[in-house]
Each structure stands twice: as structure tokens, then as C-alpha cells.
Point group: C2
Chain length 507, copies 2
């Protein structure tokens, strides 16, 4: 494994950030590419992250009054065509089912047969197919609000894919809600943005900026799209969740009408919002280091790895009895109202190898336990938020008493580190030359790494946004919701502006 | 709602069983057909049942050492073709993706474009696509056993569909495991059959028979298929879960090889096992009555419905304060180690209407609470395992003290009722004429209802099985694992037989 002075992950973040990302995933055994174009296989450790994301977000959705349901995987082409901007946005990259069986092709192979009269689209998102149900479910204002969420797989035929960040099939949740009024729908849109921000910050330990997307980055068919934007360690932005105010566009496309309190019929107001397995990509890129994955305890598949150290059978027996007792005590404890999960690593490989194995997997706490620790009733602890070789001997009593607060501290440290990183790499820029220099890579061998987030004025003209994008591959990530009104000049054209926006390169 | 002497569900089970089933689903608002051929929409109350099935089964899988992962939705046609019996079994009913985008058809519509060089099949089951990963994951005996489960949607293009029981898309879990030896793989196959049986009996309150399928009913590509079989109230059998011993068939098809302890390479032994949203169909048909759904408390989305009764604002205030206090106390209690869930029904409709609403939804306990109950510090309780009009006044103290045991009692009663029903309608039959009469409908207006399960001898000849199927639409559901060796004569041909098997009509 890693030798002195070397890192467990090669290359390092500074050497080649995109390749480092792939290697962290490989070293932690999170996922791999399948032989099906653009589709990934999510391996058990990676899928556990998704399960924890699901479980915690699902609770938050239910606490805000939402219920889950499930709608068809397939969307008839005619449904898909109902909202013009929507179909425009998704038609270029969708999987089309045209046949319903395979039959002998006469050459020992199989050919598609049973041609459908109307093609089916594998859902890239479900506004149109869910809208068809909602139009039947909603009749009166008494049926509103309708607050539904779906956990599902979706397919968008991406040409350039990257594990978790951009895959042809991905897992996500999509919330779809229907409201009586514009105000109610907008309130819901903001509420779910807040849920996402809270989840990103409190669970994933990723600080985010809540803001509105400009027109060019809006969801196809939405009136307003809001997002949470996070900074990765290459200083690019990653959109970690979106919440859309759809106005009456989809209600009109799907005929979602209701009788209002005064007895007349009107179109409803809808929202949709989603996060996906992309969050796992964000988690990896926000916290991992040159030794592998770093996981915030609230989202880690497991909290503690126990590595027994012994030379002979007699020692093994003593150490194993000690560990079994410890396991029982740990199992009684709770962290974040859930059981503390422990991996007792009894594999027949060297202790050092096990140690690096768990470092790379990002487990928050590692305990090495050998005969000396048994003799002093203590554990030899290392933490993933500290240096790999920083280990301390702690009495079992102290360890158990402090375990919850240690996990809390690790959670906080990981968040604070990410926050400081973002603050350090976020700059208010008012000079165009400085802005261009900021986004020009400093490190020639690793062109991914540039300045970070620029908070600069923008006049509101899409042409300025477009020019900057063409020149620098930099886009407006969002117009922050908490942006102060402040007189300034557009960073591109110099015209008057009222607000700073977040400019960045992005995933 | 329901008038005296009438039932909430029309028709009743006796009048028209298949239609009764549809009406129970409608009345409980569990699911509906979508406009996409054969695909259903699972509505929130129905989806909650699936969530509870998932949560509890998932714990059981993890307790037996399994971990979850996720594999691609799409299977390249060439993978699909690798196992001959397998492709034969599924090629006739699969959704085929042939294109990757839609483009303008010149007539204002869209046509498929971006033709794939190799068609993709939407997974009907994942042996072949998971096998492709396993062949990379398994190298040495040290990598075994590999115990993986996937929660996913699958598609089988069914021509005649029925909500939950048979739909073109359905939700399921599929376990896929790899082992060193035949013995290990068989042990796993039986272990998971036991898990399914335990889950069906303890959670769904459905008694099941564990047994092996005959060759004609085997999973395509399996060496042995085992199933749990349950009796529905029309006395038909429903296969509620299957566990397959795949031998080395799929290991050979997917090249899953490993180096054994003595250093030579051999093919691994695999299993697969699954249950689906069909379980919800089983749950409905096993327990519901002519007033709607009946839910075992361990799987119910919610345990208690509270219906406030008041005449004026003053009464409403008193009743509502009383209920709020009660809710706080209930929330502190646990049933089956989980929170007790309560629906406080404050809708602006009549109490009687609410009562029937919850009867039809199958909620285990209903509480009506009015000013008189407040005055006596009691609740007016009715239970779904008893008659709708059987209500009793219980002091709040007794109610809270006994709540867990009441829920346990309801769970047990529902199970016992189903068990008695099965016992009453299961018969050892040794005479061919009697066998034929047993499976001939007695009720001409409801031809679905016939004798039940026949325990009869079978010589092992597929021809006898086939003849009985052609004559009566009766099949061998399984050869029970606990069948005693007993000399007898084949019910069809009269040849010698060693064991009785379960004959039944089935879903």
C-alpha cells in the first residue's frame, strides 16, 4: 500500500483532478462503468451512500407533508410532446422503446418484433406522465395541495459520461406538487430548496449557495428554476439539487384543472424538484483527499472500522473477546438517532493493509486493537478528519462516553473545511481583466484548477452571459437568494447592475 | 356510504371475486391503471405498503449478510442471448430500446432517431447483466460468497394485466448470490425461501406452503425453483416469492470463475430470488372483506385513524385538545420496534363518512372521540379485525396500556383467519373423480370459486401434470418441502407415487 511520502490515491488532486476523482471511486469501490453505454454499476459501498441519502431525505420530505408514489417508467410519445419547451429540452437524449419482443432472425440471433403503434420514451423526468394522473386526481380546491414524491431511475442519453456526475441512467427522486395559487406553488418551490440546502449542509457537510438560475439554465418548461450550488475542490461549481416553479405550463399541457372556492374552474400551479445520485459525486469531490474518500459520519455507510492486531492464536483470542465486548457496548449507542454501525475487519490480511483499506473507504473512525490495548483497556484510534498517521490511545470508557461527540466533531470539521475552502476561493471581482485572469488556469499541468467562484455584477442581458461562457466556459451558477441590492456595473459590458451573481466553471 | 345490510364493496367476494378485487383497490385508493399499456400507477396508500414491505424485508436481507447494489436498467441483446433457456423464457415479452433520440418528422411530430447498433432490452430480470459484473468481481474463493440484492423496476410485456398481480412494469427486489460450492448455493436458496416464508407469515399475516416447483414451472435457466404459495379467498394459489438454484448455468453463460482453495479455476454456483409488488395483490386478496381492505398492523401504512366528533366550535375545541394530548402519548409508544402511526382525520366531512373511509383503507384501529368520551376520559374504539359496527368505549389509560397488545392481537387474528380458511379449503384427495369435482366451480354466477388446494399424489410424469392443466386449469403449485414420504397412486394415471403435491388453480 501507500509508502512514506506517497499518497494512497495516484494521481493527487493537484496532479490531475479528473483522474484523481476516478481513482478515489475505484479505491473506495463505489461504482464502475458497465458495458452498457453510459450506465454505471453502483457497488455496495456506493449504494449504501445512496440508501443513507434516501432515508434521510425521505424523512425530511415526509416531515414537510409529502407522500411517495410510483408512476410508469414509460412515457407515450404523445404525452412527451405536450409541452413544447420540455420536449425540446429532452428529445435529443432519450431512450426510445419501439418493440415489445424479440424473435428469431433466421441467423441464430434475435431481432426486435411486435412493433408498437406509438413509441414509448424511457422517462428522462416525469412531469408529463405524472401530469396525466394528476389531471384525474385533482378536481376541487379540496384536493390541493397535492404533495407527491417518487424515488425512481431515469434515463438521459448522455454522450460524455462520468460516474455519478453524468450517467445515461441515474437514480433520483422527483417531487411533483400541485397548488391552488401561484403563491402556494412558489412557497413550495422555496421550501424544497431549503430542504435540499439543509440536507446538503447538515448531512453531506457541503456548504451550498441557494439561488435562482438565469433563463438559459432553466429547466425546460419551468418559469423559475432554483438550485443549490456547491464548490468542489477543483473550484468548479456543482449543481446539487434543483427546485422548479412550473407556473401553469404543465397544468395546461396535462389539463390539471380544479374548481376553486368560488366555484369556477381554473388551471392549477405546479412545482417539481429533484436530487440524484449526482449528490454522491458531490460528496466525493467536496471532501475526499489524496488518500481517498472522506465521509461525513451522518452519511457514512458505517462509522467505525475495528482492526484486530495479534501475532498468534492466544493473542487473537484475547483481542477478539475484548472486541466482542466492545461491539456490544457500541451497539447500544446512537448517533443522529440511529444505530452506530461498525465493521469488524477479520479478514486474513495484514493490519496495515486493512488500515489503508478503510482510509480509502472514508470510514470516520478506525480502531486498532492489539494485546497492549487489551491490557490497558483502551483502543488505538485514528480519525478520517485528521492525518492518517495521527493515532491516539484512548481508554475504552472515554471512547464510549465521547463517541457521539467525536462523530459530531468529525461531521463539523468536514463541513468547516469545505466552507473555508469555498470562502478562500470565492472572490468579489469588479474588474473585467481580473475576472478573465481569475478563470484562467494557473497550473499548466492541471488545467482544471482555476480561481473559483467570482461574485460579480451582471446586467441581466443573456448576451453578456453567453459571451463569458464562450470565452471562458464560465456560467452564471445562480443569482443568490440572499444577494444584497448593491449598485455596480456588469462585469462584461459595464452597464448598470443591481446585484452580484455567482460566476463559475461547473460540472 | 354503506347502508344497513349493504357492504361497502360492491360486488362482494361471493358475487364476483375478480371485480371485488378491483373495487377494493379503488376504494382503498391503492393504485390505478395508467394509459401506458399494462403499467400501473401506485398511489400513496398503496406505495406505503410497498415501502413497509421493502423496509422490513431489507432488514431481513441485511441480517442474513446481504448488501444492496444497483445494476443497469438496460441489457445488451447479446448478454440476453447467452443463456438459451433464459432468453427463450423472456424474449417473447420484453421492451426493446432501438433508438436514442427523437427528431422532427417533418409533419409537426417526432420520430425515433439515433438508431443503436445493438438493441437494448429493458431488464425483465437481471441475471445476465449482473453476471457480467460478477465475472469481474469474483476471482478467488476469498471473494465468495458474494451476497447482493437489488431493489428495482423490471418490465415484462404482459398481454393480460391486473393491478399488482400482473403488470408490464413492476417493482421488485432480486437477490443474486455467488458461491464456492453446490451445497453453499443450495443452502442460500433454502435460506432465502425461509426468509420469504417468515416475512409472509409474520408481516403479511399470510400462511404459506414452502415447496419446489416442477420442471414445467421452473425459472428459465434454473436447476431448481422453490416458491412460497399462499391461498387467496377464491381458493386459488398465489406464488408469493421464488428462490432459484441456478447451478453453474449462469456462471458458465457469464464466465463467473474463481480460483478454489487448491489453486485451480472452476465455475461458481449461483442463486437468485425475488419478490415483487405482487405481494400487495396477495395481501389484498388474502385478508380483505366485503367492506374493503384489511391490513395486518405490521405492514399497515398507519395504525390508528382518529375521527373527532363535535357539533359546534366549543365542542370542537374540547375534543381537539383532548386528541392532541392523546397523540403525544401515542407517539411515545412503539409497535414492532417502530413508531405507532396515527391519522388524525380533520377533514370537513361527516364522521360516518370518515369511518367508512378508514374501514375501506383497512386501518387496524379507528377511534371516534366526542365530548362524551372527553368527559369520561375514554375513546370509542373499533377494530378492523372485528365487525364494522362493533365498537367499545375504553378508558384512555387502558387504551394506551393495551395498544401494543391490541395491535399484536389484530396481527394474530388476521393470520389465524387466513390459516383457518386455507385449512378448511385444503383436502387430501385420492380419487380422480373427486379431484375433478373439487376443481369444478360450485357457484355458477361466480365461476372463480371452486374447491381449493388438493393434496394428491403425482407420479412425477410431466404428461399427467399437463393433462390436468388442460382439463381443469389446475397446476402443481409445489412439491412441499415438508411432504412426508407416503405410498400412493398418481391422481391422474394411477401409477405409484411417494409424495403428495399441492394442486390448485392459480394467479
Amino acid at each position: 500500500m501507500s509508502k512514506k511520502g506517497r499518497t494512497a490515491i495516484v494521481p493527487t488532486r493537484n496532479e490531475n483532478y479528473p483522474e484523481w476523482y476516478q481513482q478515489v471511486i475505484k479505491a473506495a469501490d463505489l461504482a464502475e462503468n458497465s458495458e452498457v453505454r453510459g450506465c454505471m454499476v453502483i457497488k455496495p459501498w456506493g449504494y449504501s451512500l445512496w440508501e443513507n441519502i434516501q432515508r434521510n431525505l425521505d424523512e425530511m420530505f415526509k416531515d414537510t407533508g409529502h407522500v411517495n408514489a410510483y408512476f410508469p417508467l414509460f412515457i407515450p410519445k404523445s404525452y412527451f410532446e405536450k409541452e413544447a419547451e420540455h420536449v425540446e429540452g429532452f428529445a435529443k437524449e432519450c431512450a426510445v422503446v419501439t418493440h415489445t419482443r424479440l424473435e428469431d432472425d433466421g441467423n441464430g440471433g434475435l431481432k426486435p418484433a411486435g412493433k408498437l403503434t406509438e413509441e414509448l420514451i424511457v422517462r428522462p423526468t416525469s412531469e408529463t406522465i405524472i401530469g396525466a394522473s394528476f389531471s384525474k386526481w385533482v378536481n376541487s380546491y379540496r384536493d390541493l395541495p397535492l404533495l407527491i414524491n417518487q424515488w425512481a431511475n431515469v434515463v438521459r442519453w448522455e454522450m460524455r459520461t462520468r460516474l455519478f456526475l453524468r450517467t445515461s441512467e441515474f437514480l433520483w427522486q422527483e417531487g411533483h406538487t400541485v397548488h391552488e395559487s401561484k403563491e402556494d406553488a412558489l412557497e413550495e418551490t422555496y421550501r424544497m430548496l431549503d430542504v435540499y440546502a439543509k440536507f446538503a449542509e447538515e448531512y453531506l457537510a457541503i456548504p451550498v449557495i441557494k439561488g435562482e438560475k438565469t433563463e438559459s439554465e432553466r429547466f425546460p418548461g419551468a418559469l423559475n428554476t432554483f438550485s443549490i450550488e456547491a464548490m468542489m475542490q477543483d473550484r468548479k461549481a456543482l449543481q446539487a439539487g434543483t427546485s422548479h416553479f412550473l407556473g401553469q405550463n404543465f397544468a395546461k399541457a396535462s389539463e390539471i384543472k380544479f374548481q376553486n372556492k368560488s366555484g369556477s374552474e381554473e388551471y392549477a400551479w405546479t412545482t417539481s424538484w429533484g436530487v440524484s445520485t449526482r449528490l454522491i459525486g458531490a460528496l466525493i469531490m467536496a471532501h475526499s483527499d489524496d488518500n481517498g474518500l472522506v465521509l461525513p459520519p451522518k452519511i457514512a455507510p458505517s462509522h467505525i472500522a475495528i482492526i484486530p492486531i495479534f501475532r498468534d492464536e492466544e493473542q487473537e483470542k484475547i483481542v477478539s473477546e475484548f472486541i466482542e465486548k466492545l461491539l456490544k457496548k457500541i451497539k447500544k449507542l446512537r448517533f443522529n438517532e440511529k444505530k452506530i454501525r461498525v465493521e469488524y475487519d477479520r479478514r486474513d490480511i495484514r493490519g496495515g493493509e486493512k488500515n489503508w483499506f478503510w482510509v480509502k473507504k472514508g470510514i470516520p473512525i478506525r480502531l486498532e486493537i492489539g494485546p497492549r490495548d487489551v491490557a490497558t483497556n483502551s483502543v488505538f484510534m485514528s480519525r478520517r478528519d485528521k492525518e492518517v498517521n495521527e493515532k491516539e490511545s484512548v481508554s475504552v470508557e472515554d471512547f464510549l462516553n465521547n463517541l457521539t461527540s467525536i462523530l459530531d466533531e468529525i461531521q463539523t470539521n468536514i463541513y468547516q473545511k469545505a466552507l473555508k475552502f469555498r470562502e478562500k476561493n470565492t472572490k468579489k471581482i469588479d474588474d473585467k481583466n481580473e475576472f478573465y485572469r481569475f478563470f484562467t488556469p494557473k497550473n499548466k499541468t492541471n488545467p482544471e484548477i482555476h480561481g473559483g467562484f467570482a461574485l460579480s455584477h451582471w446586467c441581466g442581458n443573456p448576451a453578456c452571459e453567453e459571451q463569458i461562457k464562450n470565452d471562458l466556459k464560465v456560467t452564471i451558477r445562480c443569482i443568490p437568494l440572499d444577494a444584497e441590492t448593491e449598485k455596480g456595473k456588469c462585469i462584461y459590458c459595464g452597464k448598470e447592475s443591481e446585484k452580484r451573481v455567482v460566476f463559475a466553471k461547473s460540472y
